[in-house]
């Protein structure tokens, strides 16, 4: 019997030994290599990229690009705007090439721009191209491709004609909607982006290896217009979705830059110097059913808004460097003159004021919260939504004496319910690539598709409409300030805070650049 036990044991050990013997090919440690973990996209075709565009922005380059927090010229040499703000004449830089050496021309840019608008393509992000004349009509099948405001003047010159003036159009040009594409490659195979020999771009890197959903290896593109400034030898991109696993990989130095630091480790990461926090173009706020009791009463809405301690939420609950919000525009967005931010010009539309909140609630007929009807706050499962909701729920109870129920639903169901405005209060969060206040303010026009607050104010609609059609930058910003003030004076929504981008970065990674939407740029990065 002993003999058999021993035999079994030996066999077991042998098995384990055999397993461990098989050592994978040791990757030659390239000196300039960074492993970056980021969100996955089911498709890396720029038309279908569902992320902020970090990955595709390394393989392709737009007419303009983000650099050091500003929008600068990328593939474009110069951009001239007509006095009425409707025509942009773009001259490309000299000798632009694709990664396979072929010449890059204005026609390639036109192809990319038109393609996302083709109805058959069913491009989800087509809306970011609707600034162009007839783009929307073409996408709806009501106009021809030839009618769209994109004209090739010659190989180096492109003309873009807009529907109406757009003060931030240069930042829109950084979008993947406006990347050039190789017509003959793209039309030959719908999955061209999956293969290294057909994923041809004009960006700083080319795709050397690709394992969908798992790993992408990028190496410098020798034909990139600024190739001499690209310092990395290898940029390896991973798609780990779990924040705890990413953190473990970061600690094991398998990943050097990560984007999912778990909320409960923020303090430790800040202390160890691994966390980099920078401003994000995002607002977190609450919508309320402005047409149904009890929140149809502006006094109730204001009471709810004034009784929330945003500093406590940001400093004690979230602790991620977020900024309390008393308006609907993140502080990083610039105003008319670039040396001032929108928030500098008009900082706070209100502040926490619990006595005033109590007073307003009493005026509305609910002194000390008595008689306040059953109210539900809707949120989605996951992330920090629950802790934020719980904090607010307890603040309302403590400061106003009202009981609000929390209802957490799965994301897709949550979106459906919020859109149907089934509940009086719901959370809302929206980030963008466009550094302009209209992103959030335009949501609340009376018949807006995304007006989940059912905020109806014809005056507000007029101001927003004027702003959309105003070519003069100063006048436009004045209108936007007016609109924001009106929205907040009516407390059509309750702003809560401005989230921040949080990134894990190893201390020896230098010259990393970022986009305000949360994109990470490795063009000039290197390992010290």
């Amino acid at each position: 019997m002993q003999k058999n036990f021993v035999i079994l044991l030996v066999l077991a050990v042998l098995l384990l030994f055999v397993f461990s013997l098989v050592i994978g090919a040791a990757e030659g440690k390239a000196s300039q290599k960074i492993v970056f973990n980021t969100h996955n996209s089911e498709s890396w075709d720029p038309l279908r990229d569902s992320t902020v565009g970090t990955v595709t922005s390394h393989i392709f380059e737009g007419l303009t690009i983000w650099e050091n927090g500003n929008v600068v010229l990328g593939a474009a040499e110069k951009i001239d705007m007509s006095p009425d703000g409707l025509v942009y004449t773009i001259t490309l830089k000299d000798n632009l090439k694709w990664s396979d050496g072929k010449a890059l021309t204005a026609e390639d840019f036109k192809y990319g721009i038109i393609r996302i608008l083709e109805p058959a393509m069913a491009g989800k992000y087509a809306i970011d191209s609707f600034y162009l004349k007839n783009a929307k009509a073409f996408n709806e099948g009501k106009a021809d491709a030839d009618g769209v405001g994109v004209k090739v003047i010659d190989d180096k010159t492109l003309e873009l004609i807009l529907e109406s003036p757009c003060g931030f159009f240069k930042s829109v040009l950084t979008y993947k909607n406006y990347y050039p594409l190789r017509k003959e490659i793209v039309e030959k195979n719908p999955n061209w982006w999956m293969k290294t020999d057909t994923m041809i771009g004009n960006g700083a890197f080319i795709m050397k290896e690709f394992d969908p959903g798992y790993k992408m290896v990028l190496v410098p593109n020798p034909n990139y217009r600024d190739a001499e400034n690209v310092k990395l030898d290898i940029l390896e991109i991973r798609f780990i979705a779990d924040s705890q696993v990413e953190l473990m990989a970061y600690k094991a130095n398998e990943v050097q830059v990560g984007i999912l630091p778990p909320s409960d480790t923020i303090e430790d990461l800040k202390a160890s110097g691994d966390l980099y926090i920078y401003p994000k173009l995002q607002v977190y706020w609450l919508v309320m059913n402005n047409q149904a009791s009890p929140v149809n009463d502006v006094r109730v809405r204001k009471a709810l808004a004034l009784s929330i301690d945003r500093d406590a939420i940001v400093n004690n609950v979230l602790r991620g460097g977020q900024i309390p919000a008393y308006g609907m525009c993140p502080p990083i967005i610039k105003d008319v003159s670039l040396d001032k931010s929108f928030r500098d010009v008009y900082p706070e539309h209100f502040e926490m004021d619990i006595p005033k909140a109590k007073e307003l609630l009493a005026e509305a007929g609910y002194p000390d919260g008595k008689g306040f009807p059953q109210t539900t706050y809707l949120l989605s499962i996951g992330g920090d939504h629950a802790v934020i909701a719980q904090a607010i729920q307890s603040m309302w109870k403590q400061n106003l004496g009202i009981e609000v129920d929390l209802k957490a639903l799965e994301s897709a169901v949550f979106i459906k319910e919020r859109r149907a405005v089934t509940y009086p209060i719901a959370r809302y969060i929206w980030a963008t690539n466009i550094p302009d206040p209209s992103v959030w303010l335009n949501l609340y026009v009376s018949n807006g598709r995304n007006n989940d607050s059912k905020y109806v104010n014809p005056e507000y609609d007029k101001i927003i409409n004027s702003a959309i059609n105003e070519p003069d930058v100063a006048k436009r910003f004045a209108l936007l300030h007016q609109a924001e003030k009106m929205l907040i004076d009516d407390m059509g929504v309750i702003p809560l805070f401005y989230p921040m981008n949080k990134i894990l970065i190893k201390k020896n990674i230098k010259d990393l650049d970022f986009t305000p939407a949360g994109g990470v740029l490795f063009k000039r990065a290197y390992v010290e």
């Binding site: 994978g24 989800k124 798609f239 859109r419």
Partner: protein, 296 residues
């Protein structure tokens, strides 16, 4: 018979999945009307439900599982071809570990009945059965991956990469199989024919392996069906945690994405797999238990 099962499965799954609130094109900020219309036209979701069903069933019968709603321009067939070999390799490693260690532990426990080994094995089984696989996964990753640095815990670049995820997946079946084997062996070892064999002078090795184990393994063989189903579904969590690009991860994210084609396609695929496995188990029975014969 199996084919009919699959048709029924597909039908029920189809209507269930379509009944879930929320759709594949919903997003925080709604897409413009024209974009929504283009999407619905492309995927045929603008047609009436029964029409969608018949179109889908027709496609499935011809072996076409449709195009993914989220992985645009990629068919579910392509996704399965890409992801299943990975999941299968992981599952197979786990099955080998589970059978080898499960049966060994079970046999040893039954032989050293109520001894130290038996007690240790019992405690170990309790842990394996009670701890969820993702807890085991994190513990393994943390200790063997991060703290000790012995084994990798991200992806599947080399064979070494399969070790931790396979162990995480196999712990529950090892525990379960060891208990099953132990109980079955104890029962068999007490049978008359074993006593006869011993009295005839056959001892030790021969008794255990040739006479007893073969019969004791019947319950284990029966378990292989549900075991494989568990490994396929348990792999979802493990794949996500270890960043393994298999189909398990795709299936789970497909539900959140309301990716109807992926969810239905995977359901049919797994259903077919289980039907095939059932047939294999039935055949295995014939060879293990001479009392079972093919029916005319």
């Amino acid at each position: 018979m199996g084919f009919l099962t699959l048709i029924v499965l597909t039908t029920i799954a189809f209507f269930l999945v379509k009944a879930i609130p929320g759709g594949p094109f919903d997003s925080e900020v709604a897409l413009p009307e024209s974009v929504m219309q283009n999407l619905e036209k492309k995927y045929g979701t603008d047609k009436p439900l029964h029409e969608q069903y018949f179109l889908y069933i027709n496609k499935v019968i011809h072996g076409n599982l449709g195009e993914s709603f989220k992985y645009e321009n990629q068919t579910v067939n392509q996704l399965i071809v890409r992801g299943f070999p990975v999941t299968a390799r992981l599952g197979l490693s786990a099955i080998i570990l589970a059978l080898f260690f499960g049966i060994s532990l079970g046999v040893i426990s039954s032989l050293k009945h109520r001894g130290i080994v038996d007690m240790i094995s019992l405690s170990f089984s309790m842990i394996g059965i009670c701890l969820p696989s993702f807890v085991i996964a994190i513990l393994l990753m943390y200790f063997f991956g991060l703290k000790l640095g012995w084994l990798p815990f991200m992806g599947i670049d080399t064979l070494k990469h399969y070790i931790l995820p396979a162990i995480a997946l196999a712990l529950y079946p090892i525990a379960y199989i060891s208990r099953l084997t132990r109980a079955s062996m104890l029962e068999v070892l007490g049978q008359d024919y074993i006593i006869t064999a011993r009295s005839k002078g056959i001892h030790g090795f021969k008794i255990v392996f040739i006479h007893a184990l073969k019969n004791a393994l019947l319950p284990v063989v029966t378990y292989i069906g549900p075991l494989t189903a568990y490994l396929l579904t348990g792999s979802f969590v493990i794949e996500k945690m270890f960043s393994i690009p298999g189909i398990g991860k795709m299936f789970v994210t497909g539900i959140g994405n309301r990716d109807y084609s992926v969810v239905l396609g995977m359901t049919i695929f797994f259903g077919a797999l289980i039907v095939v496995l059932g047939i294999i188990v039935d055949i295995a029975y014939v060879f293990i238990d001479p009392r079972v014969k093919f029916s005319k």
